[in-house]
Structures are given as structure tokens and as C-alpha cells.
Symmetry: C2
Subunit: 433 residues, 2 copies
């Protein structure tokens, strides 16, 4: 009777107690590492790489493992019509919308074991800690493992109602189209509207992820607070020269598209490097035509990618490159043309309050942190359209990702999960209100 009374009193002062209690709760590095290792078995190949591409047999087996862990953490597991795995834990206040957190477990072909996985295992760790300690929250919690992130943010795109019909027909590395793949994992691509969450229907979204650059590792900082996911713009750049015999055409009588492409590539690199800021610009692909050692290239086509957190800055970088290209093209009598490719994604800034909440969580846990952009795309960028969104980065050794060599220490993973736990509880405690 006395214990029951104490319990009731405890429930009344719950929000305060929860905060107090979590000062003592932190994620278990050993458990997280053991689970990362167990998950890595699904899709491991002889070379040491993990190829758990979305919709493959390995992905199906990995998803089954994750759903088991979710159930172990006391979650009610379902698969939405987009194939997203959602483990739900009810809250004490039925009027409140859920706090959602998670990431993805599919990999690129020949990838590693941390990209995405840390965020899912970390989210389950949070649920499991709450479950083990018997801590209830006011908000429902939804732990999510998104479908086919590497193939184009398929699951989160469906969740915000922006997965197009044409995206469903794209062939994936699994040998299935996205449509077929969604069926294969238990979704229903003909009823995607059931997977859509309306703006305001989710109280907050948080994604824990490895930093795919090497900044945290190099600066020896525990936690990255993501300011947003950078925007991306792509161009096909064509240089028109004049193809001619490489033996008979004197050096001063050439309109060599390759030499112009070389000068342009150096200019792109110089402009992106010298301009203050964190913008990047890359020439990743190049082709010289006709492409024979004994023919002066008459045409070169190369790719230009520009990324930044600020759309205006991206435009500024492009305009500087364009102006320099015009100058180089004129000087060498080899015109340079830019054709933008329709794959642009705008910058997706995270919520300012969410950044503050994550920063406070890290401080309270005695962890160092810094603000930083995410140069890579994440499901979180979709979620910014429907919910206040935050992102927590943990170090990845040397910044390696999409590679069997990617590695994050057990302690760093646990630090991330502990910050995630504190962030979720702070939101639940009203920090966003």
C-alpha cells in the first residue's frame, strides 16, 4: 500500500523525475556494438564489405532482426504501406502527437556497418532504456527504420507524400523496382497515402547518424549538431572544341576541348576553395570525345556539383564559375555551356529549437559538441517539411563512409544514443512548447 502510494506520487511529479533520472541513464556501448555486429552479418560478403541493398534478401533478414529488437524493447511493430518499420510506444497523454526518431538499415553495395545502422540501433537503445527503467513519456514515441534510404530516401519521401510514380518504377540494386521492393518488404505501393504524415502530426523528428565527413574525428569532438542538410545542384558542362589529328595539328592551331576542360576544372576547385564558407564544388565525371589518344578532343562533357546550406550561396558559386567559364571559353575559342540537371534538392535547415535542445543535452552529459552542416543527404531532410527536425552526428573515423572501412567506436555510438535519449525526453518534457 505504501509502495503504491509512492508510485502514485511519483507519477504526478513524473516530468521532473524523468529529467532527474536520466542524468543517471546512459546508453550501453557494449550492447550497441554487439547489435551492430549482429546486424552486419546480414549482407556481409567475403571481402569484409556489407551489401545490404534495399529489398535484397539481406535487407529482408536485417529488417526481421531489427523488428525483433524493437519487440524486445517493448515496442508495437508495424510496417507502413511504404515499407517503413515503425515501433511504437504509447504515451500518457493521448492528445499529444508522437515524437519520431530513427534512421535506416539499408546500405550501398559494398558499404559498411555504421551509416544508418547506428541511428536505428541507437533509437532502439533509447526505447529499450525507457522500457527497462519503466519510464513513461507523455508523447507516444515512434522508432522508425526508413525504407531504401540509399536509393533516394524512398521511405521518408513516401512519409511526406512526395514519392512519385516514376520513382516507384526505378530499378534498384536488388533487381526489383522500388514498387516491387515495397511489396517485398510488406508495404503496399498502391496505398502509399496511408503512409503519409501531415505537417504538424509529428511533434518532432530526430535522426542520429554517423558524420560522413572527418570533422568530428579530426577535431576530437563528441557530438555534431546538424544545422541542416545542404542543397545539391548538378550541371552537365559541355566544352565545344574542334576534333583534329593530334599529329598534324600544331600546338598553336588547336581548339582543344580537353585543355579548356582542364582550366575550367582548376577554376571550379579554386572558386569553391577560396570563397569564405563551407560550400563544395566537384567535377566527378568527365568524357573527352572522340576519346582516342591520337585525336585532339573536339568535345568534353563533365559534371559539376555544387552543395551548400544556403541556396543563395550555391547560386553565387555557380555564377562565379559561369563567369570564369565564359572568360576561359572566349580566351580559348572553345565555348562552354552549362545545362542544369533536374535533380536539385534545396537546402533543408534543421529546427533552431531542436539544435538548442540537442546542444543542451550534450552539455548536460559532459560531451563536447559543435554545429555543422550535413554534406550528405538524409531522411531528416524530408522530415523538415512536416516536423521540427534535429540531427545528431557522431564521429566516423577519418570520415570514411559508403565503404567497408567506415567505423565508429562503441563509446561514440553510445554517446549519440545518450544525447538522443536526453533530446527525446526534453522534447517530451515540453522543451519545444
Amino acid at each position: 500500500m505504501l509502495r503504491r502510494t509512492i508510485f502514485l506520487i511519483a507519477m504526478l511529479v513524473w516530468p521532473v523525475m524523468a529529467t532527474a533520472q536520466t542524468n543517471e541513464i546512459s546508453a550501453d556501448p557494449d550492447r550497441m556494438e554487439q547489435r551492430i555486429k549482429a546486424l552486419s552479418a546480414y549482407g556481409a560478403d567475403a571481402s569484409g564489405a556489407t551489401s545490404r541493398v534495399a529489398f535484397s534478401e539481406a535487407d529482408l533478414a536485417g529488417r526481421k532482426y531489427i523488428m525483433g529488437l524493437m519487440r524486445e524493447a517493448g515496442l508495437n511493430v508495424r510496417v507502413d504501406t511504404a515499407g517503413n518499420i515503425i515501433g511504437r510506444r504509447e504515451g500518457s497523454d493521448e492528445s499529444l502527437s508522437p515524437i519520431m526518431f530513427g534512421s535506416h538499415i539499408d546500405s550501398v553495395p559494398g558499404g559498411g556497418n555504421y551509416d544508418g545502422d547506428v541511428g536505428v540501433i541507437g533509437a532502439i537503445e533509447v526505447a529499450q532504456l525507457l522500457h527497462e527503467r519503466g519510464i513513461d513519456t507523455r508523447h507516444p514515441l515512434e522508432i522508425v527504420s526508413f525504407t531504401d534510404e540509399e536509393g533516394g530516401l524512398t521511405g521518408s519521401r513516401a512519409m511526406i507524400g512526395k514519392l512519385t510514380d516514376s520513382a516507384l518504377e526505378v530499378m534498384t540494386h536488388s533487381g526489383l523496382t522500388v514498387r516491387e521492393g515495397i511489396f517485398a518488404v510488406g508495404g503496399d505501393p498502391n496505398r502509399l497515402e496511408l503512409a503519409v504524415r501531415k505537417p504538424g502530426s509529428i511533434a518532432a523528428f530526430v535522426e542520429l547518424h554517423i558524420e560522413q565527413g572527418g570533422i568530428l574525428d579530426e577535431e576530437n569532438i563528441n557530438i555534431g549538431i546538424v544545422e541542416g542538410i545542404v542543397g545539391i545542384r548538378w550541371w552537365d558542362v559541355t566544352i565545344d572544341g574542334f576534333a583534329n589529328h593530334a599529329g598534324t595539328t600544331p600546338m598553336n592551331k588547336r581548339w582543344d576541348a580537353m585543355v579548356t576542360a582542364a582550366e575550367l576544372t582548376l577554376a571550379i576547385n579554386r572558386i569553391a576553395t577560396e570563397l569564405p564558407g563551407r560550400q563544395v564544388a566537384t567535377v566527378g565525371k568527365i568524357r573527352a570525345l572522340p576519346g582516342a589518344p591520337n585525336v585532339i578532343p573536339g568535345e568534353v562533357v563533365l559534371s559539376l556539383e555544387v552543395r551548400d546550406l544556403d541556396a543563395q550561396k550555391m547560386q553565387q558559386v555557380f555564377e562565379l564559375i559561369k563567369a570564369e567559364a565564359d572568360r576561359i571559353g572566349d580566351a580559348r575559342f572553345t565555348p562552354i555551356r552549362f545545362a542544369e540537371i533536374d535533380v536539385a534538392s534545396p537546402p533543408a535547415p534543421t529546427d533552431l529549437q531542436m539544435r538548442r535542445i540537442i546542444s543542451t543535452a550534450a552539455d548536460d552529459l559532459g560531451l563536447s559538441s559543435r554545429l555543422m552542416p550535413s554534406g550528405a543527404g538524409h531522411d531528416a531532410q524530408d522530415m523538415t517539411h512536416i516536423a521540427p527536425t534535429g540531427m545528431i552526428f557522431v564521429p566516423s573515423v577519418k570520415g570514411i563512409s559508403h565503404s567497408p572501412k567506415e567505423f565508429t567506436t562503441a563509446l561514440d555510438m553510445a554517446n549519440g544514443a545518450s544525447v538522443l535519449l536526453k533530446t527525446v525526453l526534453a522534447i517530451d518534457g515540453g522543451a519545444l512548447e
Copy 2:
């Protein structure tokens, strides 16, 4: 009887008379142009290009046409075991070895009507003029149309005994291997030794050809006296960078193989341009790996070709490029490796006396001329190994070649044939002795 006596006297003073007579003999521009046009029908396609690739039906038809012209010019026509067409005219002195002249009639795919053709039609014009005027020579004359020049100097290579077994197995644009092609045109690849001419067995070789650069056209000069066919060296150049995520890797943390390749390409162009001389260096082919717009290239492979008439100069150009590559590679932490490809052909200088004879012939005809290297390869380069060799260039408008747009005027063709005639008669008259 009187006429017969005059004829006998004429024969005795022949060399003097021949020289005197040829001052009045010149090639017929209209006939040459008409024949070039007739030949162009074999292999003409709808786009206006000529694809008379060696061993094709068009080549077989073109060869038949050429053999007909040779017979019309009083030549005895045979096909040697390498498939070379040889039209022979006996000389008055059986102790003398033949003077050989000619070129080829096969084309590149999508080529034009002058490369090679002008040299064969011009050689037949010389034979026809001698035939029509009843002019005999001391030396036998052999007018040659070489087999498969564009595929790798097949016919002339066989003639100097250097056509390898592996070259016979190469697949050609005709769909036949070189071996099958030689059979198809009436040769016998199993008895190539019968096509071989020993050093000293040919008194001289002369090739008339269009200049494949634009120098004669631009400088408005009638005749190019070829100093030699430039040597060629090829390298595969590999730049080792570090492939990484183009979004997450800051500009100052990249080992971008593409940026290094760009700096190297500019350096190659600058070195070849600024060094005094006529050397050329070309990057005609480039590949960035993995080759995605959103991945910093971890490796770039590009082709380097260097050509010059002087082997030492070629080596000097390479060493300057190599030193600059070492500097650039070190500065950017992206090593640059050079692997030479085994396709090198050494420079093939023409005979000094032959140059003088051609120069005199042009002067006597009132034609302007200049010395120049041939940047392109020709059958003449093989012939330098077995005979005193000379080459006569005529202008090609804008220097275009290997293109439907290549064009040489009827007058320029006739000038070339007239110089060829005077050159052959001068050699026959003892100018080389």
C-alpha cells in the same frame, strides 16, 4: 626508215631529251579530279562521307577501278601476296632496280576522298602521261596502292618484312581480320615472304599525299617537302587520389585526382607549346573513377601522346612533363605514374637527296615549296627502311582530314602529280647516283 633512225638517235640521247620534254608535260587537273570523283562513288554513304575501309566491298570495288586505270596507263598489274596492287612498267636498263611511287585508297570509316587517293591517282597520272607521250625510262617503274594503310600500314609493313602474326589476327572495320582481308583482296597471308622487298632492291620510293595539317593552305604554299614522318610515343598516365563523398568532404580535405589531372593537362599543353620546335603533345582520352558526379575522383587515367621528328626531342618533352608531374603530384599529395604503351614508332626521316630532288622539281615548275614534318603516319615511313624515300605534300583546305570535309583542289592535285613526275624522271636520270 628515216623515222626509225630518228627514233634510235632519240633513244641514245634519251636522258637529256626526257628532261627537256617534261618541261612541257604537266598533269591534267580535270582528269585527276574526274577520277577522284569516280573513285569516291565506291564507299559513298548518304551523309556524304566515304567509308572505303580496307577489305570491305567498297574497297574491293575501288581496287578494281584502280587496276582498270593502271591498265589504261599501260601498266602490267599484279597483286602481291600482301594484297598490294602493283602496276609495273619496264625500263630500258634491265640492270636497274625499280622506282616505286604510290599511296593507298582505303579510308577511315566516315572519311573523305583525298587522303591516300590523291597519291594513287597522281601516281597513275604520271604513268599515263609517260605512256601517252611514249616516254620510256631507264628504271622500271612500279606504281603501288598499298593494302590497308589506315588499319596500321599493313601493306607497306608486309613489304618491308615486318607484318607480324599478331597483326594478321587484328579485326578490321570490314568485319574481317587482316589475314582474312588479305585473302579477300587476292593476297596470300601464308606466303607474305614473297611480298618482301629487300633493302637496296628499290631505287627510290616517293609518296604524294595531302598535308593533313593546315600549314600549306594557310601559308598559301603549293608543295610540302616532307622531312620525315614524326615518331610517336604513348603513355597511360594514372593519378592516384582518394575517392570520397563530394558532399561531406571539405575542399581543403580532398585528394582529388581530377584536379591534379587538370593541372597536369595544362602543364602538358604548356610545355609542348612553349618549347621551341614543332613537337606536339596531346591528352586525347580521360577517365575519372568511380566517375559519379557526387564522388570525388579517387583515380584518373589519361592518355599522353608525344610526337616529333627527333627522338631526343621527344624524350626531352617527356622528361619535362614527367618532372612537372612529379612536382604537381607531390604538391597535391596525389602521385602521378606514367606507363609507356608499346606502340611507339621512331621518327622516320626522309632521304636528304630526295628532299633536294623534290625541291628542284617544284622550283623548275615555278611552284612554291617548304620543308615540313609529317605529323601523321604514312606508308612512306616503312619504306624509309628499304629505299631512299621522299614525300610530296599538297595543300588540304583548312588541314581537315579523316573527314567528309577534306578537300584538295584539282590544281593542287595536278601540281603534286607534276612534281612527282619530275621527281621520278630526275631519279631515273641519275639524280640519286
